[in-house]
């Protein structure tokens, strides 16, 4: 046993003498994790980010962020002789000429889709258990900011490739920028370096934002987020009587949690590389290069921006004008106001709840959704609002696959996106209260029986 200690003693001593890290390591190795699977969702997002950075670095070594025209002479037959940008051509080469290039490209794109999905699942767990309450409001704010940063980062990533689908998406992005009241014209000119399609440097602006600025921002925010989580410690469900707002019970990082977290990391990477190899994503060679006079039916943004296309499609056709001045162009409602409302509600929710409940105490024990009927009701209603608008954005696919009339669907959704959330709020809140009452009755009954037994003795 002494010999075993000696083997690790040397490197530990070496490092601690030069960094002073031993006290910190001692604390962190025995940091306690709560014992529930839903606490792993944030880690899934983290590991997806790791895969994104790894595959992303690989792609930067082959991608050419230039809109200069070139003629395709590569191996993909249907695009032979076609004029396209260097960016698109380099993406084709990554897909067809670089060994393992397509695997890396597809894994990277699947990782982006899964990254945002994991953040959303994690956010749902945080919200419906009240984990955002004091003292974790800052942690929560950082998380919401990361969510929106991830949306923008993904949009830039797939738009750099200059294929027909993402090119249409960029044109729409420009239209949305223009739609910001008063400053929209200047904003679009600023971002694009001129009227659409803008200056060729727009491509390199997207590139540097996507490979440097946003990853640096996300990495910093992730570090802050994790540091804050560790500093305040994880929350916990009340499973044991020993678990209170002042006392936590959990599993130490080492040896208990470590193999599981590491295993999760490899599992996430495995799922992402499996998708990257086996399920095709963004087959840019099938779309062809982007030209502003071309478009295709069925063009959609990546799923995490699908809520916005629903907002854009649902609006009736009007610009708000004052005389000859166009104050609010149409895309503003679905493209700017809608996401802004979602962002503001998400960011402000800890304070909204504090205001409405007057609850200013520290909470380290989580609620079950039923323990907070109003919050759960509001959360489900808000989610259903966003989700219905999201679904409305795919009404054309419902026409193709199910034969539903398109105009009829739009009319339906225009009403449903307001009616359904209201119904959901009341139903969910009532359900929570009913569950609480049922539990209370059971507890009273159990207490009465116990007392009866004692008395009867």
């Amino acid at each position: 046993m002494v010999r075993r200690q000696a083997a690790t003693a040397e490197p530990i001593r070496f490092i601690d003498e030069r960094t002073g890290a031993a006290p910190f390591a001692r604390r962190m190795l025995r940091y306690l994790f709560p014992d529930h699977w839903s606490f792993l969702l944030g880690e899934v997002a983290l590991y997806a980010f790791v895969v994104l950075v790894g595959t992303g670095i690989y792609l930067t070594l082959f991608f050419e962020p230039s809109l200069a025209d070139t003629v395709y002479t590569g191996v993909y037959g249907p695009l032979q002789g076609r004029t396209m940008s260097e960016a698109y051509r380099s993406a084709l080469d990554i897909s067809f000429e670089v060994d393992a290039g397509l695997l890396m490209r597809q894994t990277h794109h699947w990782a982006a889709d899964v990254f945002v999905a994991a953040i959303v699942l994690h956010l749902l767990r945080i919200f419906f258990t009240g984990a955002f309450r004091k003292p974790r409001e800052l942690t929560y704010l950082i998380g919401v900011v990361m969510l929106f940063a991830a949306l923008l980062e993904g949009y830039l990533g797939y738009s750099m490739v200059d294929d027909l689908l993402s090119g249409m998406g960029l044109a729409i992005g420009n239209g949305v920028a223009l739609s910001v009241p008063v400053i929209g014209g200047d904003l679009a000119l600023l971002l694009w370096g001129g009227a659409y399609p803008g200056d060729p440097t727009f491509e390199s602006r997207m590139y540097i934002a996507h490979v440097l600025l946003f990853p640096a921002l996300l990495a910093t925010l992730i570090g802050l987020h994790l540091a804050l989580v560790a500093s305040r410690h994880h929350t916990q469900f009340r499973r044991l009587r020993a678990q209170t707002d002042r006392r936590l019970v959990g599993v130490p990082t080492f040896p208990g949690q470590a193999p599981r977290s590491l295993g999760l990391m490899f599992a996430v990477a495995a799922v992402l590389f499996a998708l990257g190899g086996l399920v095709q994503i963004n087959p840019i060679w099938l779309w062809g290069p982007y030209e502003l006079a071309l478009s295709t039916n069925g063009a959609q943004p990546d799923w995490y921006l699908g809520w916005l296309i629903g907002g854009l499609r649902l609006m009736p056709g009007f610009d708000v004008t004052i005389g000859g001045y166009t104050l609010i162009p149409n895309p503003f409602w679905g493209g700017v106001l809608f996401p802004a409302i979602v962002m503001v509600v998400l960011l402000g929710f800890p304070w909204i709840e504090r205001r409405l409940t007057g609850d200013r105490s520290i909470h380290n024990v989580l609620d079950r959704p039923r323990d907070a009927p109003a919050r759960t009701g509001f959360g489900l209603a808000f989610l259903s609002w966003v989700f219905l608008i999201f679904v409305a954005g795919s009404a054309d696919r419902a026409t193709v696959f199910l034969g539903l009339d398109y105009a009829g669907q739009i009319a339906f959704y225009r009403v449903a996106v307001w009616v359904v959330p209201a119904l959901v709020f009341f139903i969910a809140r009532a359900a929570c209260r009913a569950l609480q009452r049922a539990e209370e009755l059971e507890r009273e009954q159990h207490a009465a029986e116990t007392e009866g037994r004692l008395v009867g003795r």
Binding site: D35, L41, L79, L278, W303, I427
Partner: protein
């Protein structure tokens, strides 16, 4: 529960009007003894004249005139099952051809005699180039049919995917513009360009799926479904398996 019910009711409101049952095929009693021309005339009278007029002159509010339709259009509409149509306002959809082969031929020849329309086109997809076809298809067709011919919407009409279109049918559709589709003559899309478009549509039925399972060649819509219904499910399952560290009695 109430919300679900309301949703279902509202959905029925926008559901397609239950497609009128396709009209029964009316066949002459002594079909075997008729010449093809007579057969064609009788089938026309029994199945087409109701909307298109007894001489194909058209009927107001029911069906367009067929004098210049020619064998090309008749062949297209009959072989895709677009015609006969149950109600004039319905959108013709590809369906099972309920006429038999000799009947189809007889009808096509009969309609050709009604006027001066074009014959069934001769197509040679091998003469076309897929790369030219992709360019042509993107410019003229992708707006409605989607760039990989998976179909789409032109408010409020359903644009069909082309996976079941034969080369002849593609040529016929391009030249005649069925239902609300634009029509393209030889000066709009030359025969050579048309051959390329046909070659491309043929390619689009089974395009290069170097990336694996093609999931419908629609892009982000099926990709989002895979993200949530496959990846998210798998990863949550892994979390559940990993999650319980402490075994409880």
């Amino acid at each position: 529960m109430r919300a679900l019910l309301a949703a279902v009711l509202l959905l029925l409101v926008v559901a397609p009007p239950a497609a009128a049952d396709p009209p029964p095929i009316v066949r002459p009693a002594n079909a075997g003894g008729l010449s093809p021309r007579e057969l064609g005339a009788q089938l026309f009278a029994g199945n087409c004249a109701r909307c298109h007029g007894s001489n194909g002159e058209g009927m107001a509010g029911m069906g367009p005139p067929l004098q210049d339709a020619g064998a090309l259009a008749a062949d297209f509409y009959l072989r895709t099952g677009y015609m006969p149509l149950g109600e004039p306002q319905e959108q013709p959809e590809r369906s099972r051809v309920r006429f038999r082969e000799p009947e189809v031929r007889a009808l096509v020849d009969y309609v050709a005699t009604l006027g001066d329309g074009p014959p069934v086109p001769d197509v040679d997809p091998e003469a076309g180039s897929v790369s030219q076809g992709l360019e042509q298809f993107t410019e003229h067709c992708a707006g409605c049919h989607q760039v990989v011919a998976e179909g789409g919407v032109v408010t409020s009409v359903r644009v069909p995917p082309l996976d079941r279109a034969t080369p002849v049918q593609i040529a016929e559709a391009v030249r005649t513009g069925p239902y609300v589709m634009p029509k393209f003559s030889e000066s709009d899309i030359s025969d050579e360009e048309l051959a390329s478009i046909i070659a491309y549509v043929r390619y689009a039925k089974a395009p290069d799926d170097a990336g694996g399972w093609g999931i419908g060649h629609l892009g982000p819509f099926p990709e989002g479904m895979v993200t949530w219904l496959i990846a998210a499910v798998l990863l949550v399952a892994v979390c559940v398996v990993i999650g319980k560290r402490v075994s409880r009695p």
